[in-house]
Symmetry: C2
Subunit: 212 residues, 2 copies
DNA sequence: TGAAGATACGGAGGCTGCCTCCGCTTAACA
DNA sequence: TGTTAAGCGGAGGCAGCCTCCGTATCTTCA
């Protein structure tokens, strides 16, 4: 909608410019000061009034969304590329590792994602779905190849990933996260058939619900 | 200390009473409203002035600490008990599962822990060390029994645990967390000797630094 | 090119929460 | 019961959130 041939006025040049400035400033400020950073600081840095900021982005989350939407897309595209790799499990592992690096270079990113996972914001709907799809494609391939257990859903994996990155402001978190993810991936491998200790199914849920 | 025979005045009864009231109120308010809840709301609920609250607990974190110290202790004692279980890996798994349940029943708890992990607060020093020790004792036993890989430190494991609980306000997070922890524990098992695919050591760090 | 009208700007101002400070109150002690 | 240290409470200063509206600027059309 909004698409009807009504002559829609060309958007004002200053509005476009200001929107861009705010976005740029927000990226810097959020990356430096975390997701709690003052929006007035963002406005000041952008050289616009606070009112202008709020008109373009009526909520803090709206601003987050605008800033990090592109980043999420990049991460998701990476999965697309990795689908061509030979070893499916290795591909998954690589993606997770890339994710860590991604988070590392964009300090505000993790905060944004965290916020998105927790609250039911707009950004959630978008990035959660997008990343789930990305992970799902890698996951399915590995499962289909018979190398990976089938009772873990893409959502599960995504949450595990978030969780591992959760400690992202401890010193050395990056090495930790990589190590933890490796353990996790190891746990995802199907146990070698003859060797598996049957484990009580008390806690191993029948199967993760999977998007049909 | 504080123990010297100097005649120390008995603490005033009203002070003791108020401190208790604030703690009680804080528990309620934090559990309901999360860790961001207004301290003035806490004071109001406790029926004391805001000044009184701040005298007893000069920072938000100090209040958190006082509220959740006991909880952390309980969790850590559970590890002590589990040390007598037969299967060391199973014991570890049980502890982790109990942790999930623990977090589930005390809504404010996770927030407190999360806050503790992230910021370098007092509560961090206390609970992180305490829980690390708890996990460490379970971990070491499993490693010593030769059932578990030795390149994961207690700190790593603790962080993984936090991470898995991180999604604790999504619906159904509990089942998810349990599933993820099971995968993780599976990944911790030493690979059956003859079967292990040698994995490039590119990312498998030499060994986690371990408290000497 | 210039006038008209739509659109956007910006910051004052109201609100809430954080935290400090200090005059008053009250409990402990002799 | 008087003295005095300990404790109380809330006023007040500060900062950030968000709204509202008078003013400025841009687009459009003649």
């Amino acid at each position: 909608m909004d698409d009807h041939t009504d002559q829609t006025r060309k958007p004002r040049a200053d509005a476009v410019r200001n929107r861009e400035r705010v976005l740029e400033a927000a990226k810097l400020v959020f990356n430096a000061g975390g997701p709690e950073a003052s929006l007035e600081a963002v406005a000041k840095r952008a050289g616009v009034g606070i009112g202008t900021l709020y008109r373009h982005f009526p909520t803090r989350e709206a601003l987050f969304e605008a800033v990090y939407r592109r980043e999420v897309e990049q991460l998701s595209e990476l999965a697309e590329q990795l689908k061509n790799a030979k070893d499916p499990i290795e591909a998954l592992r690589r993606w997770l590792h890339s994710g860590v690096e991604f988070v590392a270079t964009k300090k505000g990113m993790m905060a944004a994602l965290a916020l998105a996972v927790q609250s039911g914001s707009e950004l959630h709907a978008f990035s959660f779905e997008r990343l789930t799809k990305a992970i799902g494609s890698l996951l399915n391939r590995a499962v289909a190849a018979g190398e990976m257990r089938a009772d873990i859903s893409p959502e599960d994996l995504l949450r595990a990933f978030f969780g591992m990155c959760y400690v992202h402001d401890q010193p050395g978190w990056q090495a930790t996260a990589l190590r933890l993810l490796d353990v996790f991936v190891a746990g995802l491998r199907v146990p070698p058939p003859g060797k598996a200790k049957a484990r009580s199914s008390k806690t191993t849920k029948p199967a993760a619900k999977r998007k049909p």
